[in-house]
């Protein structure tokens, strides 16, 4: 069966881009997080939509599972082949197809990397930028949008799935469909005013289709960029501070962070506020607005803005920031994973305290923080735990801490984002049963043979 599958896949994408070898099966069986490995039978790298379609048709014929994968950096094991089958590594499909500078959108292929789009825009459209996550630059836009990611323009534009303007998707049954304006007109300007079919593929962890093209919103790129760091000591005041800062509507990105290292940061709650402007005058105006919004706290001497030396400021302005990646080297063991829970801002103090308690209880190295989404409409609160992958006990400690964090996040009204398979179960247990039943009905219509990333979002 596997030999037949491989031979037929080779006919579709060429022998160079198919492998059932032990090396690929091993490496693609896991990601950098704590989830246990699960091997695919074969890894395939298509070059275009038609090849994806043929692979999907073959998988249906042979009833073999398919797992779409971008850079595989999700950390929560969503690109593992839980039931074996094919991993579809999308990164050969990495072209930037179109940039519309007037209507400010870009159309890219399903395996295009964040870093490559950033670089392309810098060269060809320096007046434009897209919202980058702090994921490593090889992470794909499709993988990130499919999981409702967020990034450096998320205060301005919401989560990255809110910035999606349309998609081309190969359905689990093999048809190629388009969502958004590109399904009617030639342009990819937006998802309204049509029935919003894009939602069929967002947040489903690759269980409903394979995104082969997508459109995303671009935003003005500023000549002058700055970051302020607001420091507080009382977590209970954080929701109001965030609310006041976002009410100015000038920040592009707002990321609270709380870490025990470096020493000067321990015990304090920081909020990085990134903003930009076309002129220096405008930048000063925006800075004044931000500072004025939290004046009460400064006057009361309970919080203040941190003076930032130039190198530190430069580091904070780096996009993507490599700091979180470097957290993986904290225990000299190449591992970290985080629970990112999407929740309402008012849960900030609870989340912060839960993070500290869990880190202490499980004796794990931690980094806590959040990214504000929209004008304080929600946040992605992250609880990151580093581990040494060469030390099974340390991995288990981190894994237990993550599980406890998922439980705590759900209990306080948050929802684990890009949830690991066990966390999906926890979410389903708490979900309105009718909602889960509808998810099941949609999946059985889209994917009658149950081939798309099976094992996820199942009871």
């Amino acid at each position: 069966m596997t030999t037949d599958l491989i031979t037929r896949l080779e006919k579709i994408v060429g022998p160079r881009f198919v492998s059932g070898a032990a090396e690929e099966r091993y490496l693609y069986s896991m990601d950098q997080g704590t989830m246990p490995p699960s091997e695919p039978d074969v890894v395939v790298m298509p070059a275009n939509t038609e090849e994806v379609q043929q692979v999907v048709r073959l998988a249906n014929e042979l009833k073999v599972p398919i797992v779409p994968m971008g850079a595989g950096l999700v950390l929560s094991g969503l690109t593992r082949a839980l039931r074996g089958g094919i991993i579809l590594d999308m990164k050969r499909m990495n072209h930037i197809i179109e940039v519309n500078p007037q209507s400010r959108y870009a159309v890219i292929e399903g395996g295009a990397a964040q870093g490559m789009l950033k670089s392309y825009l810098k060269k060809h459209h320096p007046q434009l930028k897209h919202s980058m996550p702090d994921a490593p630059p090889i992470a794909t836009l499709a993988g990130n949008i499919c999981i409702h990611g967020s990034g450096h323009l998320s205060v301005l534009g919401g989560s990255h799935s809110d910035m999606l303007t349309g998609m081309e998707v190969v359905l689990p049954s093999g048809e190629i469909v388009r969502t958004g304006s590109c399904s009617v007109a030639g342009e990819w300007f937006g998802r309204s005013p049509l029935p919003d079919l894009s939602g069929l593929f967002l947040g489903w962890s690759g269980t409903t289709g394979i995104v082969t093209k997508l459109g995303i919103k671009l935003f003005p790129s500023y000549k002058h960029n700055d970051v302020l760091v607001f420091v507080a000591e009382d977590a209970d005041q954080m929701p109001d501070m965030i609310s006041k800062l976002t009410s100015t509507q000038v920040a592009e990105d707002m990321t609270p962070w709380m870490t025990p290292k470096p020493d000067w940061a321990k015990g304090f709650l920081h909020i990085n506020i990134a903003y930009g402007a076309h002129t220096k005058k405008e930048l000063t105006f925006k800075r004044n607005l931000l500072q004025a919004s939290v004046k009460k706290y400064i006057d009361d001497k309970v919080a203040g803005f941190l003076p930032l030396p130039a190198p530190q400021k430069g580091r904070f302005l780096q996009i993507p920031s490599p700091d979180l990646v470097r957290f993986a080297d904290l225990r000299k063991g190449g591992g970290f994973e985080y629970v990112g829970a999407i929740m309402a801002i008012e849960h900030f103090p609870q989340a912060y305290r839960a993070g500290l308690e869990i880190a202490e209880k499980y004796n794990v190295s931690y980094s806590l923080g959040a990214r504000i989404i929209g004008a304080g409409h929600s946040m992605m609160f992250f609880f990151a735990y580093a581990f040494n992958r060469a030390d099974a006990e340390d991995v288990k400690r981190a894994s237990d801490a993550l599980e406890a964090t998922n439980t705590a996040a759900l209990a306080m009204g948050g929802i684990p984002w890009k949830a690991e398979q066990p966390a999906q179960q926890q979410i389903i247990d708490q979900m309105d049963p009718e909602t889960f039943a509808l998810m099941g009905r949609i999946r059985s219509v889209l994917d009658p043979n149950g081939i798309m990333n099976p094992g996820n979002w199942e009871k």
């Binding site: 590594d89 990397a113 490559m116 060269k123 990646v325």
Partner: protein, 384 residues
């Protein structure tokens, strides 16, 4: 295995796959094969798995390990400071372990056997090592200031010989005092070491050092950046005490001695940084200085230049073993397309291997009418 202690520390984040400006994939092995396994992080994890007996030492595993072009992009752009300095050392140690286990690919074994038997990978007799000088009237080394070291490619490869002749001609034009040793010099051993065969490297180096010392050599000009790297950085640990220069470094400061013809056509040139001159030895300027001093030349930069340069794919023995192989995604082919995109009419190389690799790529891409590959001294010599 040496450096085994760092393998598990790689996070497999993939910063190392890209250049610092993220333009496109910049690891030649990953660019060519595209499986995660061929990326720097992939090879770190696979090496760990092999040592833990989670995967066998297969033909494919050997191909993965030996496809590394030792270009140093991963070392330059890995997200972890300090750790990254040991990346290439770990890859080389991995290859060494595979060689010890008798698992090297046949092409690697052939390469090493030839070097072992003949002192060079062409399997040529050292008696033929003066052929490259035909028509050059190069002086035998006696008491000149420099020895000119032409390495394997410059000595035995037909195109490499042209490059060696051209460089030697320009050195003469610039009034540099140099001589050559025609007998018995072996391969510099740089790529033998990069392939993981350290004992053979040491043997080659020791033989070369003996001869160089017999001739009382003090200062050396190398043709190849690979020789430059070995002689400058690795030979001292084996007792060598020479001042070593790449030819562009000597010529960059001697360009004032050169008279150019007054009727040169204007031409746009992009310079391809060789890994062993650039990333490995941080000289990004000497060749550019040379080119800037030539009337009529407009220097343009490719998106990937200096620390971000894309390797031609010839390092780590791949020039001889061809494990990286051709195909649309081979880095040499991607590189010449990039040069055309940058608007260059000439792609300048400062390494005989790069020159050969990139010329083959221009042919494979059918770009002959748009761009020509020339070695830096050839560009200068044509304008005298």
């Amino acid at each position: 295995m040496e450096h085994e202690d760092i393998l598990h520390r790689c996070f497999r984040c993939g910063y190392c796959k890209l250049p610092g400006n993220y333009v496109d994939i910049n690891c030649p092995a990953y660019l060519s094969f595209r499986f995660e396994t061929y990326s720097p992080g992939g090879r770190m994890w696979l090496l760990r798995a092999w040592l833990d007996e989670k995967i066998p030492a297969s033909k494919r595993f050997a191909e993965i390990m030996f496809s590394c072009a030792t270009c140093g992009n991963c070392v330059e752009h890995c997200a972890f400071p300090e750790f990254r300095d040991r990346l290439l050392l770990a890859f080389t140690a991995g290859k060494e372990a595979l060689l010890d286990a008798g698992q090297a690919p046949p092409a690697v074994r052939d390469y090493l056997t030839k070097v072992q038997l003949h002192g060079n990978p062409y399997g040529k007799s050292v008696k033929k090592s003066s052929q490259w000088m035909d028509g050059l009237e190069a002086e035998p080394f006696s008491d000149q200031e420099y020895l000119f070291f032409a390495d394997d490619v410059g000595t035995y490869d037909p195109r490499g010989q042209e490059v060696a002749r051209s460089v030697a001609t320009l050195l003469k034009q610039a009034g540099i005092s140099f001589g050559v040793i025609t007998e018995a010099l072996n391969s510099d051993g740089n790529d033998v070491k990069a392939i993981g065969e350290t004992p053979l490297f040491e043997e080659l180096a020791a033989k070369n050092i003996k001869i160089l010392n017999q001739f009382n050599v003090k200062k050396i000009i190398t043709l190849s950046p690979h020789s430059f790297n070995a002689l400058k950085n690795d030979y001292p640990a084996l007792g060598a005490q020479y001042q070593v220069f790449h030819y562009t470094q000597v010529l960059a400061f001697a360009m004032g001695n050169i008279n150019f013809s007054s009727d040169n056509e204007d031409v746009t040139v992009a310079y391809h940084d060789p890994c062993y001159l650039g990333r490995h030895n941080t000289d990004y300027e000497s060749a550019r200085m040379m080119l800037r001093s030539v009337p009529g030349i407009t220097l343009v930069e490719m998106d990937r230049n200096r620390k971000n340069a894309l390797c031609c794919g010839g390092g780590g023995g791949n020039f001889f073993t061809d494990i990286l192989s051709g195909g649309d995604g081979s880095s040499a082919r991607v590189r010449v397309r990039e040069a055309v995109e940058a608007g260059a009419q000439i792609l300048a190389a400062a390494c005989p291997m790069c020159a050969v690799m990139l010329e083959d790529a221009v042919k494979a891409e059918n770009l002959d009418s748009k761009i020509q590959v020339q070695e830096v001294s050839e560009i200068v010599n044509q304008r005298l």
